[in-house]
């Protein structure tokens, strides 16, 4: 339920980026990432410009660099994959610090790292400047099927129910002298997973019944609807449009 308010990634603030309606931001990020993905990898400088663009947005939104960088860690598994590429990909070799590396492999690794990182960074900026509920409203405004939006909003709400049940179960276990300290205790934990599902499910069922009792008929009453002004749209468009210009330049120069 608290998650209905905000989420772990959200950083409260009052910057112009925070103030933009969520659907503008969602669309802007999507377009930006599309542009990034379709930039030729050989246009190395273009990716540098993209990074500068994102840094500018982060500055406007007053998101500290450390915060944003930490969130980039989510990418690690694919970084590992990318780092392997120069070694395993067949093709022309080149000597770097005495190690023979594959040229297409290096390009591949660069491609994944650059585009992936920019994509992650853009999403991180979106997530840290947009409240969860606005994200949901934004998705709705973007005409995502309403059933999907509803499932998503219930997921958010029940995410809390489940986290709550998990916390309760863990406190209950600990106060009766149980500490999960090793493989020996996997049995207990695994059993808890099943119990967790039923508990959360039944709790969710009861919460749903409570909503139904208070007149819920399948749609949440929307109390404050946000419409974006033309100014807000153009403001949001700044990022993807600049990126597009860079991208086109990238195609012509490479």
């Amino acid at each position: 339920m608290g998650a209905g308010h905000s989420h772990k990634l959200y950083r409260h603030g009052h910057s112009p980026v925070h103030a933009l309606p969520a659907h503008c931001k969602l669309l802007a990020v999507l377009c930006f990432v599309l542009v990034v993905v379709s930039t030729p990898r050989e246009a190395v400088w273009a990716f540098g410009v993209y990074a500068v663009l994102l840094a500018a947005v982060a500055a406007v939104a007053r998101i500290p660099a450390g915060f944003a960088l930490k969130r980039l860690l989510i990418e690690i598994p694919f970084v590992a994959f990318a780092l392997l590429m120069p070694f395993v990909v067949p093709g022309e070799r080149t000597e770097v610090l005495g190690v023979a590396l594959s040229v297409p492999g290096l390009w591949g690794a660069w491609n994944i790292l650059a585009k992936g990182t920019l994509g992650v960074a853009a999403s991180v900026l979106l997530a840290s400047t947009t409240e969860l509920r606005s994200v949901l409203l934004g998705l709705q405004r973007l005409r995502l099927p309403s059933l999907l939006v509803q499932i998503a909003s219930f997921m958010v709400r029940y995410g809390d129910v489940i986290a709550d049940e998990m916390r309760r179960m863990s406190i209950a276990r600990r106060s009766r002298g149980f500490e999960a300290s090793g493989v020996r205790h996997w049995g207990v934990l695994a059993k808890s997973a099943g119990a967790l599902f039923i508990r959360s499910y039944e709790r969710g069922e009861r919460v749903h019944l409570a909503m139904v009792s208070r007149g819920y008929t399948g749609t949440m009453p929307v109390l404050n609807d946000v419409r974006a002004t033309a100014a807000q749209w153009s403001y949001a468009a700044a990022l993807p449009v600049t990126a597009l210009a860079v991208c086109l330049l990238g195609w012509t120069t490479s």
Partner: protein, 358 residues
């Protein structure tokens, strides 16, 4: 396995996006039917969203459960099998799609342009494979609760390497760099068989636990629940009409046999992918594969049930490293299940405990 932006080329991303969108569209319609009327009467279609959201939240939660796999890697639950068995394949696809969407937006986990790829691989493929295999097994096995848990174990186990194989396939076609696909496939499937064991254990335990106390909540086991009886003034009355079913404990021998059969099925399935030579994975073939998935969706209804089976039927039982790992793992796991069942039996008195833990 959340694919980031820029990993798969544009045409394949778009194709996967189309597949994903089609699957979601079909599922939106199917889900209303699946979640419509279950245990609580008088509450109808407005249940769809809350209950699907609940399962999505659960999948979200268990996806954060990382468990260590061999050699420093760790895997997390995909949840496709679990969702499909608990709420049905259509709702299952919706749940996973929503989870991936929110992970992409909120946690930057998986690229926004790769959403189609992610939904196809982790949502559509896992759900289809898992539910197909699950239905198939439930149909051939005796109609008991234990068969359901065993079938969910097998379904979850297979769904993970299947997703890995599907991912490799997409990468082979749409990867932006040529890598030796054969070894990638072997590595991916091999690792994911191990991850699959974790997935299978958790899926089985969860399904088993739910089955023990709320059998009506397990979509894949509908019709297994005994009809509700009400005592009114000394007479027994049916609460609501339900199909009659026989619920009896399976013998440990059967469980073990099931394990073995599953192992072979699995072997066939995995080696089918593992032995496919990299050259064989040409664009055309893969495009065909994608077309096929689309067709399956258009035909939606019951063919889901046959999908997995069909694939198994023409699978070649040939070698391949991943296949060997798969068989070995499954036999070990199956035997483990067998011993666990037998030991708990010997312990005696706690039949419910057995049900909830096996």
């Amino acid at each position: 396995m959340h694919v980031p932006d820029g990993f798969i080329n544009a045409p394949v991303s778009v194709a996967a996006g189309v597949v994903a969108a089609g699957a979601v569209a079909v599922s939106l319609r199917g889900a209303r039917r699946e979640l419509g009327g279950t245990s609580v009467a008088l509450v109808g279609a407005e249940r769809t969203a809350p209950l699907a959201g609940l399962v999505a939240a659960f999948v979200f939660a268990v996806q954060m459960l990382n468990f260590p796999v061999a050699a420093g890697t760790s895997g997390h639950l995909l949840g496709g099998a679990l969702a499909a068995i608990l709420v049905g394949p259509f709702t299952g696809v919706l749940c996973i799609a929503v989870v991936l969407l929110m992970q992409g937006i909120l946690f930057a986990d998986g690229g926004l342009t790769a959403l189609g790829v992610n939904i196809t691989v982790m949502g559509v493929v896992t759900v289809l494979v898992a539910y197909g295999l699950f239905r198939g097994l439930v149909l051939v096995l005796p109609r008991t609760r234990r068969s359901v848990t065993v079938a969910s174990f097998a379904a979850a186990l297979v769904s993970v390497p299947a997703a890995a194989a599907a991912f490799t396939l997409l990468y082979a076609v749409g990867g932006l760099t040529d890598v030796p696909i054969g070894s990638v496939l072997t590595a991916m499937v091999g690792v994911h068989v191990l991850i699959g064991i974790g997935e299978a254990v958790i899926t089985m335990l969860t399904v088993g636990a739910v089955l023990a106390v709320r059998p009506d909540l397990v979509y894949g086991a509908r019709g297994l629940a005994a009809p509700l009886k009400l005592r009114v003034g000394g007479e027994l009355v049916d609460a609501a009409p339900a199909e009659p079913a026989r619920v009896a404990a399976a013998s440990p021998r059967k469980v073990w046999l099931t394990g073995l059969v599953t192992a072979f099925v699995l072997a066939g399935f995995v080696s089918f992918y593992a032995s496919a030579s990299p050259d064989g994975l040409e664009k055309v073939a893969a495009d065909k594969g994608i077309d096929k998935t689309v067709e399956e969706h258009a035909a939606a209804g019951s063919p889901l049930a046959d999908y997995g089976i069909e694939e198994i039927a023409d699978a070649r039982l040939s070698g391949g490293l991943a296949g060997v790992i798969g068989v070995g793992a499954t036999v070990v796991a199956g035997t483990g299940v067998f011993y666990a069942v037998r030991r708990r039996r010997a312990d005696g008195d706690r039949d419910t405990a057995v049900r909830s833990s096996v």
